[in-house]
């Protein structure tokens, strides 16, 4: 073990002097995460409040229910703000100049049309630069019109059954039985990570696979430069040489992830979650990355060849595991394949951690550890040929 640590210490000293290592392990992932957040963060999220205006030209009961109950109720959740404007023209103007995310236009005669069973519509005018906020506005309006349709159906059915109660009273009773429209944050056990954390974590785990390459691929470099022959001639067990390289990969991986976590927390306000849970995920993720990259390096004949293959594997696993986009949402085969990527388990573990306690990460930790054990065992068997006497 002493020799393995000496070999790892030497490797790390050399890596510390390699500027490209810092670029790959820290600067690139942090930079890309920042760029992704800047670009995609404008789509909404991260506590952004959508500001809506409503122009009620109808002022009838049904219109007031929408503005007072539906919109004010949703505003109570803190996710949206609603204010009334005098006219549809003013409402459009607010949206055009960016003062409002979207406008609800309730035309004159809206209540009358609804009560008479005629076609009635709520017009939503959205800001083209705020698609998420506009979509939420549409959903609110759609939900309300769906409720109105349900009420109409209930009233019509009751009237046809011979009940003598006035339709307006029936409508009021039916409407009272429908659920409220609420806009609120997800309270499920697994939360979606906020965008900054999602991209910081995605980039961190993606570049982790590049960062850990140096240790295991170093064995091929040492074979090329004959320092491996020198190590083999030294009173050092061959297993110690292998162990030293694996330790190097793990240490580089843990250091790179730690720096990225701290930096993204300070610079991007990313929220990684409970440190113990994050530590478990990082350690198991690093082991999984080391195992995967070791297998590739063990198959390759040269360090250059290994580097090329490792890049391909890292990109494919990263894309599959959702480091860039939530691939699992595509469903079907892709959703199943994503389970093969440690990236998926790492990000899922962080999401579980955000919605639960530290133990919530254990399934992900177990999956990544199993991945590491399998790939690590294969790599050790394959690497014996590199140090074979």
């Amino acid at each position: 073990m002493r020799h393995a640590l000496l070999i790892a210490a030497r490797d790390l000293r050399e890596r510390a002097r390699d500027r490209t290592a810092y670029l790959l392990a820290v600067v690139l992932p942090l930079g890309l995460a920042g760029i992704f957040t800047l670009i995609l963060g404008n789509l909404g999220g991260d506590g952004e409040i959508f500001r809506y205006v409503v122009a009620d030209a109808d002022r009838g009961q049904v219109a007031r229910t929408f503005t007072d109950d539906v919109l004010r109720g949703a505003a109570a959740s803190g996710v949206i703000e609603v204010r009334s404007v005098a006219s549809a023209r003013e409402a459009r103007g607010e949206v055009e100049k960016g003062a409002a995310t979207a406008a609800f236009l309730l035309p004159a005669g809206f209540t009358e049309d609804v009560l008479a069973g005629r076609a009635a519509r709520i017009e939503v005018v959205g800001d083209v630069d705020a698609p998420t906020g506009t979509q939420i506005a549409r959903s609110l309006a759609q939900t309300y019109t769906d409720r109105l349709a349900a009420v109409r159906l209930a009233v019509a059915a009751t009237v046809h059954s011979g009940v003598t109660t006035a339709p307006a009273e029936l409508a009021a009773e039916a409407a009272a039985g429908l659920p409220e429209v609420v806009v609120a944050e997800d309270t499920a056990a697994r939360k979606e990570l906020d965008m900054k954390t999602q991209y910081a974590a995605g980039m961190a785990v993606f570049f982790l696979f590049f960062a850990v390459q140096s240790g295991v691929t170093g064995l091929l470099d040492e074979r090329r430069t004959a320092t491996l022959a020198r190590l083999l001639a030294a009173p050092v067990r061959r297993s110690s040489i292998l162990a030293g390289k694996l330790i190097t990969s793990v240490v580089v991986g843990v250091l790179s992830m730690t720096v990225l976590i701290v930096a993204s927390s300070l610079l991007m306000n990313a929220h990684w979650g409970h440190p113990a849970g994050v530590a478990l995920l990082v350690l198991s993720g690093v082991l999984a990355a080391t195992g995967a990259m070791s297998v590739v390096a063990a198959i390759a004949k040269t360090a250059d060849q290994a580097g090329g293959w490792q890049a391909v594997v890292a990109i494919v696993l990263g894309a599959l595991g959702g480091a860039f986009f939530p691939v699992a949402q595509a469903g079907g085969l892709l959703e199943k394949l994503t389970l093969l990527a440690p990236h998926h388990w790492f990000l899922r573990g962080l999401a579980d951690l955000a919605g639960g306690d530290v133990t919530a990460v254990l399934p992900s930790v177990a999956a990544m550890t199993a991945f590491a054990v399998v790939t690590g065992a294969v790599a050790v068997v394959l690497f014996r040929k590199v140090v074979r006497p």
Partner: protein
């Protein structure tokens, strides 16, 4: 006392028999040159001796300890200087030495001593990548000396270096042998082998085809030293006088002089010159020809050493 004993070494790579039944010994303080053209099996032999490579057959014993790829105790007795520059370029010279010293359990004081020995003490803090080719070669050798091995194996340690570094390396090797270290040395430079090696083994196509001192090899081929003299005076009288000297094995006219075949030209030359001067002849020129290892090598393998 024998430090290295290898017998019946054999190693096959697929269909190629790289080394076949190679046996030799090296004594304490002896420098043994292993000569052979490219692909002859030198590096494979060295790899088996240093425990880097498993052998198919044969035995290697270093200072009484059997060598194998897992023989940690035997490896402590051997210093290895590979043909390539086996250094870490992003470490300083001192850091390179300290790393290997730690693997062998050698102390920091020894690192400083070795830096002095190879003349790198003043550049020890520089990165190895910033060293000249000669300095890298010297550092390469220094690593092999760190643990004061009983056997030092040098695989073409002077390849591609400047004359100054080559001389320094050769002086180091000579001094180490004088201290009692057994040295196994391969080189493409015949003059190095002649200057350094007490005995040489010639390896070709995986087999050790000849072994001995330079003189033994030369004599085995029927080659002798020759002294060519250009003389003024009575040539026939000179021939009679010189032919009576016991060390002179043959004699023939050569231009305006004589060519003598002798046992050892350097020992014989003073006797020859003295005999001529006391018999009234005048020597105009002298040329001594000693058959060298290049001649031996060419004769044995049909190839020049650098082919």
């Amino acid at each position: 006392m024998t430090v290295l004993s290898c017998s019946g070494l054999r190693r096959r790579f697929g269909d190629v028999l790289a080394v076949d039944d190679v046996s030799f010994t090296i004594a304490e303080g002896e420098t043994y040159g292993l000569l052979g053209p490219n692909g002859a099996g030198k590096t494979t032999t060295i790899s088996m001796i240093t425990g880097v490579l498993e052998r198919d057959a044969g035995e290697v014993v270093v200072d009484g300890v059997p060598m194998s790829p897992d023989a940690v105790a035997a490896k402590r007795l051997v210093g290895y200087v590979p043909q390539e520059l086996a250094l870490y370029p992003d470490l300083t010279g001192r850091e390179n030495l300290r790393f290997f010293a730690s693997l062998y359990g050698a102390g920091r004081r020894r690192v400083d001593e070795v830096l002095e020995v190879v003349g790198l003490a003043d550049r020890a803090g520089d990165l190895a990548r910033e060293y000249s080719g000669g300095m890298k070669r010297r550092l390469n050798v220094a690593i092999g000396l760190l643990h004061e091995p009983r056997l030092l194996v040098l695989d073409e340690p002077t390849a591609g270096v400047d004359p100054q570094s080559r001389n320094q390396i050769m002086e180091n090797v000579r001094a180490l042998a004088a201290e009692g270290m057994a040295i196994l040395y391969t080189t493409h430079y015949m003059e190095e082998a002649e200057r350094l090696c007490d005995r040489v083994g010639v390896i070709d196509s995986g087999r050790l085809i000849a072994e001995g001192t330079r003189r033994e090899l030369v004599e085995r081929l029927g080659e002798r030293d020759r002294i060519s003299l250009q003389l003024d005076g009575d040539l026939s009288h000179a021939a009679t006088v010189l032919g009576a000297i016991p060390a002179v094995r043959g004699l023939a006219p050569h231009g305006h002089g004589l060519e003598l075949v002798v046992d050892d030209a350097r020992e014989c030359l003073p006797v020859v010159l003295s005999a001529i001067s006391t018999n009234g002849a005048v020597v105009r020129s002298v040329e001594v020809t000693e058959p060298n290892l290049e001649t031996v090598f060419l004769h044995l393998t049909g190839k020049a050493l650098r082919e």
